[in-house]
Structures are given as structure tokens and as C-alpha cells.
């Protein structure tokens, strides 16, 4: 049997923010929103569920959460029902795995749900649990548990090496918070000015509060199936998973493989693979959702995804080339900076926005978008995950 072509049919989200709801409640909300987005689909026909979440074991005291969620959304999986953990890229990993299973004929219709319940009544737990996301024996013991210090060191090096400015970092936040108005289900729908970002209270200089993604509760969901079934279930233009890649290096903050912290070798490796597999080049991408956990991240991603030259990410963003009407609109629904970042949910939220974009039904629409890209980095920059979607397979 030849490989089947795999499509994303639609997507949904729970409301993201500070939620008084459990992880299972939010997974159910996201799945309902997703089923509502594909009205011809009978949910009983969904034969597989992947649930992307890193912290449901620790913060919700729920391990083996996938069957619990299957029960709550009223499906009885027969192909696969399991949890996926790649921290910040968990949702994207779920989509890649579902694509592989469907392509190989091991599943027909899969729902990929992902998200986190990060706020708990004991607020200190939020900051304690973060330490589990790094090499805690060594880096954690030094007090680098929370991500901002690592990315602030990265920003310092980028500023020194390439002359990137605080204004350029801030421009990422201004753009993405403005784009956040396009996603009513994201954490924030409030634009911020350059002055506000520049003056936001220091977290780990040069990064201030508005350079950082917030801590967010929420879930997202997408449905994937093979091309023939997709044609049956939807009149919308088909959106194919064209190419994917995930590249991990053994590095944590120590033993970094690049020349310095701004040299994201593993992102370039993943990008090269994903472009090859999707048979496209960076110039072919019409719209992208990249991992703006911090403003500096998006700047380096523009470079190492090949949208601009190395070192030119700052001017690229500042001059509007990654905004609507620019060379490549990036984070058109607000990215992590506006939507928030419930780790396992992020890659799925990005996929949902790309599907809406390629089907011409996004709130902030990029006219004529045919090829879209999503990107996540995981943890303290240990892994990069890329998916490329297209209107053609």
C-alpha cells in the first residue's frame, strides 16, 4: 500500500488564561470546539487519541491521562490512546506521530489534544515544578530553574555579537501582542506599546516582563485523517502535513554545541530536514507560527529558519518584515507572548491557526496563504520541532 496523504481537518481551543478548571475539563472544552469545527465528523468514528502534556502527572496528579480524556470526550479509541511529552513541543510531536500512524494505515481518524494546568492553589509549586524541565541535578542546583535567565544570556550574546537592540527585542512583543487581538481564546487581547515593553519590569535583563510568555492554563485540539476521508468530511480546502522534523542535541545550558548561545545548530538541522521533506524552501513559506517564548527567540528563529541572514533577525522584525504585509507574517494569532504557553497545547494552537490561514478563514488573514510552517523549541533549547503544511500534498 502506498503511503496515505494526511490532512488536518480543523482545530479548536479551550479558553486560555488563568483558569479555574482541571486539565481534563479544558481538554474536553478544546475537543468540543474542535468537533464543532468539523461538523460532518461523527466523533464515534475517531479511532485514536494522543494527549500532549508534560505536567499533568505532577500538577494535576493524573498519569495515564489519555484514557481519562477519551472517556470525557466520549470516544473509544481502537488504534492508539496515549500521552506524549516533549515539553514545549508536545503538541507538535503528537501531530507528527498521528501523521505517521495515519500515513502507515495504523489509524484512520485521530484527535490530538494537548495542554497544561499550570496554576495550582499553591503558587510556589508553579516555580518549583519548572525545575523538572531542565537538567535539574546540575543546572537546577545553580538556580537556573526558570527559563528567563537562559534566554537572557542568549539575548546578551546576540546583542554583543550582532548589535541587536532592546528596541528590536521589544518590537517582537509589540507585534505579537497586537496580533493577539486575532485570537479571542488566547490569554491576552490587549496591544502594548513599544514604550510599555521597554519599560516593563526587569525579569532577567535585558528581558522584561513583556519579553516573556506568561504562565497559562489551557488546551487545544486538532483532528487528522487521510486524504480520502478528509474529502468526505469537509468541503473546505484540504490542508496537508507536507513535511516534519525534530532535532535534539544532548546539550543543556552546558556543553552547548553552537559557537555561542545564539548559534542554534539543531534548529538549522531540523529546518533543513523539514524543508527537504516538504520540498519547499524558506522563500515558499507564506505564514509561520514560531516559538516566541521570549522576544529573543523569535529573532533567532527568523535567522535559523532561513527567513533572513544570520544576525539580521533584529532589523528584520523591527522593519515589519515578519508582520502582516511584510515578507513573512509570523505569529499571526499572537504567538506565545499573547496566547500564553500551556506547553503541550502550543504546537496544536499553532497548527489550528495555520489550518485557518491556509483555508482562508483566519481572523487576521494572510491573503492567499498556501504554505505554512510551525516551529517549537523545547526546554532550555534542547530540541527543535518543525511542521510544514500546504494546500498541496
Amino acid at each position: 500500500m502506498a503511503d496515505r496523504k494526511v490532512c488536518i481537518l480543523g482545530g479548536g481551543m479551550s479558553k486560555w488564561g488563568v483558569r479555574e478548571a482541571s486539565i481534563v475539563d479544558m481538554a474536553q472544552e478544546a475537543a468540543k470546539d474542535c468537533f464543532d469545527d468539523v461538523p460532518a465528523l461523527k466523533k464515534e468514528d475517531v479511532d485514536g487519541l494522543l494527549f500532549a502534556s508534560s505536567y499533568c502527572g505532577r500538577r494535576s496528579f493524573q498519569v495515564n491521562a489519555a484514557p481519562v480524556i477519551a472517556e470525557r470526550i466520549g470516544i473509544k479509541p481502537t488504534s492508539m490512546c496515549t500521552r506524549v511529552d516533549t515539553l514545549c513541543a508536545g503538541g507538535s510531536s503528537g501531530i507528527i506521530l498521528a501523521t505517521g500512524l495515519i500515513k502507515a494505515g495504523m489509524a484512520d481518524i485521530m484527535i490530538v489534544v494537548g495542554g497544561e494546568k499550570l496554576y495550582t492553589p499553591q503558587r510556589w509549586e508553579t516555580y518549583y515544578s519548572e525545575l523538572a524541565s531542565i537538567d535539574h541535578d546540575w543546572d537546577g542546583a545553580q538556580g537556573i530553574g526558570l527559563p528567563p535567565p537562559f534566554f537572557s544570556m542568549t539575548a546578551q550574546e546576540h546583542m554583543k555579537r550582532y548589535g541587536t537592540t532592546k528596541e528590536q527585542l521589544s518590537a517582537v512583543s509589540v507585534k505579537n501582542r497586537r496580533n493577539g487581538l486575532n485570537n479571542p481564546k488566547g490569554h491576552f487581547q490587549k496591544a502594548v506599546s513599544l514604550e510599555e515593553v521597554m519599560a516593563s519590569r526587569p525579569i532577567a535583563p535585558p528581558l522584561g516582563l513583556l519579553d516573556c510568555t506568561p504562565v497559562t492554563d489551557g488546551c487545544a485540539a486538532v483532528i487528522l485523517t487521510h486524504e480520502d476521508k478528509a474529502k468526505e468530511l469537509s468541503d473546505r480546502p484540504l490542508v496537508y502535513v507536507r513535511g516534519t522534523a525534530q532535532a535534539a542535541l544532548h546539550s543543556m545550558s552546558m556543553n552547548w554545541p553552537g559557537e555561542d548561545l545564539t548559534d542554534w545548530v539543531h534548529l538549522r538541522t531540523a529546518a533543513k530536514k523539514a524543508y527537504e521533506r516538504a520540498r519547499v524552501s524558506p522563500d515558499d513559506i507564506d505564514v509561520a507560527q514560531t516559538h516566541d517564548c521570549f522576544t529573543i527567540s523569535e529573532i533567532i528563529e527568523m535567522e535559523d529558519l532561513g527567513f533572513c541572514k544570520k544576525g539580521e533577525g533584529g532589523p528584520f522584525v523591527e522593519s515589519g518584515k515578519s508582520d502582516f504585509g511584510g515578507k513573512i507574517p509570523v505569529n499571526t494569532d499572537g504567538g506565545l507572548l499573547a496566547c500564553g504557553h500551556p506547553f503541550g497545547g502550543t504546537g496544536i494552537r499553532q497548527a489550528r491557526e495555520i489550518v485557518y490561514q491556509l483555508q482562508g478563514r483566519a481572523i487576521g488573514q494572510v491573503e492567499g496563504a498556501k504554505i505554512g510552517l510551525t516551529h517549537n523549541l523545547s526546554g532550555l533549547n534542547v530540541e527543535h520541532t518543525i511542521l510544514i503544511y500546504g494546500r498541496e500534498p
Partner: protein
Amino acid sequence: MGFENFGTVSFTTEAKAAEFITYLEQGKVMATRCPKCGVSFFPPKADCPSCLSGEVEWFEVKGKGKLATYTIVNYGPSGFENDAPYILALGEFEGGIQIMSRLSKDIAPSDIKAGMSLVVSSLKRPDGRISYEFKKG
């Protein structure tokens, strides 16, 4: 002893690289090297990730390193609240050894410059816990 007394907060008590702590108690910051592959590791690894052999050698991280980058942590994670603000830095040492550690409180923030010379030394904290830190080289 193992890792239970290491760093401001430690998370693992049992690890095969526990000899690191014994050396640290003697004032030595040690790394390991795989004699077969010739690769050095910090944090020290008890088994080589390249050939997976357990025959690694311990050696002391000596000499002067260079500060690559640093940041001031204003909000410490849970357990680190009383330490903040503190300065985390990345130091590059001979043989491709990279170490992420705190800068000694003896160094005034105004004196910190990328490229400055560093040494890494063991640190006995006032609360009796043990760690390592960077001093001016």
C-alpha cells in the same frame, strides 16, 4: 555522601557521578574524560555518552576560563528566593569544558565584562551546603 547536600536545592540524592561531591568537599571541581574517545565532560558523566563505556577518568578543572555570557536573576525559583538576586554565568575553559555557575558575590556587578578571566572553585555555603562558583581569574 551523594548529591543531597549539593547546590542551593538538590533534586537527586543518588547518582553515579557522586564522586564529584567527594572531590568538591576536598575543594576540587572535577570533570571526567573518556580515555578511549578523548572527550571531556562537565557536568561529569560516569559513563561515556559516546562509546557508553564506564571507564572514565576524573580530572580537575584548573586554569583560567573566559566569561561567555551572564545574567542577573531577580526572581529565583522556589527554594532560591533568599539567594536572589544572583548572577548566573557561562564560563569556557580549556579543552572545550563549559560550566554554568554563579558568579561570586565578591565580584561587583559593574566589574563584570564578557570575556573576563574566571576560575571555578568549590563553595561551602553558610548553611553548610556545598556547590561551586566562579571567581575572578
